[in-house]
């Protein structure tokens, strides 16, 4: 885009025109991202929308979190057919929200963990983080563009200036100082803007973790889900930089790299887990204390959200480990959903084999390849 602006600027023989065009383009793109971002993102990741009876457990968990957060409208739920472990939320306002989860993650998590992850996503929606991060990235882009064009002005201006100063032969020193200051500013501004963007993103992640603990009253659920997420480094194919802040964990993290540096949209997972485990209760206050205990320094929760009320952690989880679907059952459930969403029909034969009938299968009957029984399609 900057290049387009650059060449347009060359064509008009004026850097100002280029700058205006580039910023206009940027604004248009941001508006598109804001109004159409959710459908573009969901379409790009080939996410499939599910109905309540496609995956009752997932649907129920999201509905539980919708109730706990006091969200007015039930968000749409999508499944992405990808073995990577991740989940994200999107939608510019709480009434048009969607949450998506990869099939890999859906298989891996038990009910409590799923609840923690969905609470995290719903709180991104509830805290209007999608809007906030969109605004921040527009601002960031504008600063980067301005700095880029500023450097071009400076370069051109510097050249003409030096010609003039050599002809007049005075005032070169002052001009040089201004030049150096401007140069430093132009180099540093985009870097700082970027760092601030990442810092805001990290802060919103902490806030979403804290909200997740508050909604579920059970920080351990999210903590153990995050541990499972940390163990996998498979990258999500459909992620991109602009949407990274919306995911539960950074979709670009690499193995062995401790992503605790300043240029990450997410805080390191191990630290998030430690904070959640250090919580003495489930309130924002408790999260803030745990944060200070783990990281030191100031807290992370905005002071206005801190209340003195005590919120105990739920000791009795209604769904015990016993009645829980195990790994194999969850895997089977999830793959059933994925087949069904691609319009395959599943027939279970009496011999225990499962036949997946593709949507373009036209015969009225099908024979089980395992035992030879015939089934009506």
């Amino acid at each position: 885009m900057i290049l387009i602006g650059y060449f347009l600027g060359l064509a008009f023989d004026s850097a100002v025109a280029g700058l205006v065009i580039a910023i206009l383009l940027w604004v248009i793109l941001s508006l598109v991202a804001y109004f159409q971002g959710d459908s573009i993102l969901l379409g790009m990741s080939r996410a499939k929308k599910i109905r309540p009876d496609d995956h009752p457990r997932l649907f129920n968990v999201v509905e539980e979190m919708k109730i706990a957060s006091g969200l007015e409208k039930m968000p749409d739920i999508y499944i992405i057919d990808d073995p990577a472990l991740n989940a994200f939320a999107t939608g510019r306002d709480p009434n048009r929200a969607s949450v998506a989860i990869t099939s890999g993650l859906l298989q891996k998590l038990n009910r409590d963990e799923l609840q923690g992850v969905m609470a995290h996503e719903i709180s991104h929606v509830k805290n209007r983080d999608v809007l906030l991060m969109a605004m921040c990235s527009v601002l960031l882009g504008t600063i980067v563009l301005l700095a880029y064009y500023g450097s071009r002005f400076l370069f051109l201006g510097g050249r003409t200036g030096s010609r003039r100063s050599s002809s007049s032969g005075g005032g070169g020193g002052a001009q040089l100082i201004i030049l150096v200051v401007a140069l430093v500013f132009i180099i540093l501004a985009p870097i700082f803007a970027q760092l601030i963007y990442f810092a805001i993103s990290r802060k919103r992640e902490y806030l979403a973790d804290a909200s997740s603990a508050l909604y579920t009253r059970y920080p351990e659920g999210l903590a153990s889900a995050l541990e499972k997420l940390a163990a996998s480094t498979e990258q999500l194919k459909s992620a991109n930089q602009a949407t990274a802040p919306m995911y539960i964990v950074n979709p670009f993290r690499k193995k062995g790299l401790k992503a605790s540096d300043l240029t990450s949209t997410h805080p390191p997972i191990s630290e998030r887990v430690r904070i959640l485990r250090a919580m003495a209760g489930a309130s924002f206050n408790n999260y803030d204390q745990a944060y200070r205990q783990v990281r030191g320094g100031k807290g992370v929760i905005p002071a206005a959200s801190l209340t003195a009320e005590t919120v105990p952690i739920a000791t009795i989880k209604l769904e015990g480990e016993a009645g829980e679907a195990n790994d194999i059952e969850r895997t089977r459930d999830t793959s059933d959903v994925m087949w069904r969403l691609s319009n395959y029909k599943t027939i279970t034969c009496d011999c225990g084999a499962r036949l997946r009938v593709p949507p373009n299968f036209k015969e009225p009957q099908i024979k089980c390849p395992h035992c030879g029984r015939t089934h009506q399609v």
Binding site: N60, E64, I67, G70, I316, L318, E319, A322, G323
Partner: protein
């Protein structure tokens, strides 16, 4: 003349403050009402699920007539109390919860039941409904706390008194009933 303007100004400012305080109170009160409607929806859902559950379980459980009857009875009592206030309802729903938990505790003795697809679907629904009840209760109580704080704190308590905003009632489940909240785990 100036005094008149000052008086008019003060009155206008007071009216604006009153306007904001009143609207704030109305918003909070509506949130409480809304949250209460949520609990109501979930409690109704549980009432609707129970006959289904009893029907599914009956065939398998020959020796648990008393437990089943206790659940049905608690449901009927809860059904009759469905237009009562928060305190009264919390009590009867708490009793229904403990009757349910007793039923679900004995389910573990019947392995056939645990293989029943219909029952497994019911189990998920019941687990989720119990969760939704407790989450909506959680949100309701938070809303009531916010609303009550607002009606009791200066200066909005004056407005609350003027337009008779009454304090909301918490939906408290007694500790004993909470401990007995249905443990919806059917397998071992």
């Amino acid at each position: 003349m100036i005094a008149l303007y000052v008086i008019i100004g003060v009155v206008v400012v007071l009216l604006i403050v009153l306007w904001f305080l009143y609207n704030g109170l109305v918003r909070l009160r509506n949130q409480v009402k809304n949250a209460w409607a949520q609990i109501d929806v979930q409690l109704k859902r549980r009432h609707d699920l129970i006959p289904n559950l009893v029907e599914t379980v009956k065939g398998y459980m020959k020796f648990e007539r008393e437990t089943l009857e206790a659940v049905t009875k608690a449901r009927n009592i809860a059904l009759q109390a469905s237009s009562a206030g928060a305190g009264e309802r919390a009590k009867v729903e708490g009793e229904l919860s403990s009757a349910l938990s007793r039923l679900l505790a004995v389910v573990e003795r019947y392995p056939d039941l645990k293989a029943n697809q219909n029952f497994l679907a019911l189990q998920e629904e019941l687990t989720s409904t119990e969760n939704k009840i407790s989450f909506s209760r959680q949100f309701y109580n938070d809303s009531v706390l916010r609303y009550n704080n607002q009606t009791q704190m200066v200066p909005s308590n004056i407005v609350a008194g003027m337009f008779s905003f009454k304090a909301g009632e918490f939906f408290e489940v007694t500790l004993a009933a909470e401990k007995e909240a249905p443990k919806v785990s059917f397998t071992q």
